[in-house]
């Protein structure tokens, strides 16, 4: 069982997320920004499933994020105008690619694993960039919009109503987060943490390491794909930059910034990062230097992340 204080914090967190559209405005934000925080947070938490809880660094998660986004966008544009189906196709595309790439790389460890994931991320970037006729190339995939969702008795207008879309994203976010939480608490999740702590010992205990790594990689990419489809739906647009290496780097820095050893850390990191990026890019053209500076400062001064520091203060 969780300690009572932590349960209160998590309850407050959900309450904040549930009421966000009603208070972001008063703080100078807007509903779409809150939605973007949720989408990025889901991606960063999905990455952290691998990074923080399996101890394996992937620097190419944007590939699956972007692929899923393209899958969703192209489904609506070329096949059927249905948001639900678009998400299904997008997630399937992202996850299938992760299954194939994952099988190629599970033999590698440490820096080499990271390097190969970086390199593989670029394949999809170049495909999206070069295959003009289908993907729209550098200009991105335009000319489609997310579609209202028809339930049995009613229709949810996620296209025209920003708040409705926010709650739709929050609903998906909640499902994914609960699923990840349950997975991490299951024997499977505990095994992943054991691998993170001591791979050799886990191996001697009879745990098939490569199978677990592969599965963890695929699960992580599955959730990142969900985030990718939401990202495309949010913007009604997707372009090759969504699957480039800098996007992968942003996911990693969000996880580290918030605290990669805590479940909720990436959410905090994503909130800080997205809001800062939104603010800085409206103020200056040199946002790249700014983001770079964030990377350097976080590594040098806050390697434990925001939640890591808070937790340390509380226990001291």
């Amino acid at each position: 069982m969780k300690p009572p204080r932590q349960r209160v914090v998590v309850a407050v967190l959900w309450a904040l997320l549930l009421t966000a559209p009603f208070w972001v405005g008063t703080l100078g934000g807007y509903t779409e920004l809150a939605t973007r925080v949720l989408v990025m947070a889901l991606a960063a938490m999905a990455l952290n499933f691998l990074l923080g809880f399996t101890g394996t660094l992937s620097f190419g998660h944007a590939a699956y994020f972007g692929l899923a986004g393209y899958g969703a966008g192209m489904t609506i544009k070329f096949l059927v105008p249905s948001t639900g189906l678009a998400m299904l196709v997008g997630v399937a595309v992202g996850t299938l690619s992760a299954m194939i790439i994952g099988a190629l790389i599970v033999k590698l460890r440490g820096v080499y694993f990271a390097m190969v994931t970086i390199a593989f991320g670029q394949v999809f970037y170049f495909i999206a960039f070069r295959w003009n006729a289908v993907t729209g190339g550098d200009d991105g995939l335009t000319g489609w919009k997310r579609q209202p969702i028809d339930l049995l008795f009613t229709r949810i207008d996620i296209l025209g109503n920003d708040r409705a879309f926010y709650y739709f994203v929050l609903f998906v976010f909640a499902l994914c987060v609960i699923a990840m939480g349950l997975l991490l608490r299951s024997p499977f999740g505990r095994t992943l943490i054991a691998i993170r702590e001591n791979e050799r010992r886990s191996e001697f205990l009879g745990i098939p390491i490569e199978q677990h790594l592969w599965l963890s990689f695929v699960i992580s990419c599955f959730f990142v794909s969900v985030a990718g489809t939401l990202y495309a739906l949010l913007n009604n647009f997707i372009d090759p930059r969504a699957l480039r290496w800098d996007q992968s780097g942003n996911f990693v820095i969000m996880a580290v910034l918030g605290g990669m050893r805590s479940f909720w850390g990436p959410l905090v990191g994503a909130a800080v990062f997205v809001v800062l990026q939104d603010y800085v890019s409206s103020q200056t053209e040199n946002w790249m230097s700014f983001v770079g500076l964030v990377f350097v400062l976080v590594v040098l001064f806050f390697p434990r992340g925001v939640l890591g520091i808070i937790r340390r203060r509380l226990s001291a």
Binding site: K107, V123, W245, F295
Partner: protein, 289 residues
Amino acid sequence: MTQLLLFNVFNGLIVGAFYALMALGLSLILNLSGVINFAHGGFLAIGAYIAYTIMPHVGFWGALVIAPVLTALLGLLVERFLIRRLYGRDPLYSLLLTFGLAYIIEDGTRFIWGAQSVPYAIPAGMSNALSSQFFFLTGYRLFMVGLVAAAVAALFLILNRTRLGMRIRAGTLDLETVSVLGVNVRILRNLNFGLGIYLAGLAGVLAAGMLGLQPTIGTSLIMPSFVAIIVGGLGSLPGTLLGGLLIGVVSGIATVFVPSATEAVMYIMMGLVLLVRPRGLLGEEGRVQ
């Protein structure tokens, strides 16, 4: 057709030589210090822009000598004040740090020299074709191939014949023992980093004359360098060299038959190598970690 193919193979060889030069520097740093230097492309750009800036004063040849040295000095400082703090920590942190540096360098060069490509002069006469039939054989291209070959030969001589080089190779295998034997590992890692950055700077000075000079020149060359290391074999410098040349030539050939797959083909090759031989073409057993 034959001529087109020859042209693209030769072109691929030159581009591959740049990949190899970059990748050798990356490999040196990765093998000894376990750092993936994402800012390597940034250092390449810095080398090229320094050359561009001092060229009016010292000429092409002066710039060719001075610019890589200045870049290497900058590399020594970056290692001393930033990267050194991260040794012994999770490699994640040095990767993130150099990632941030790459951003800052690209934005910084754009701020100083502008986002447009700048005119980068190569010595007069060297851009003329040497033969009318093989129009692509310009003096500059041959010179680049020759110089890269000389640089690689010099690097292997340094690694095999000098005390510094032997210490670097020994440190790659077992840094702790090297340290116990009385070698100052801090200085060794510092010099090794500088050597890697020197190669990046040199590649920058040469590449700018062929590919044109704009702030993104570094980022466009770094990904293929990663691929070169993985294809060639993790931990093997000859493998890195081979990997760089190979992916250069293969993408050159791809340009002839499937122009839109020029970039994708090297990643496909990487996938195949990982499938058949995860440790890379010349990678040694047990060095996959």
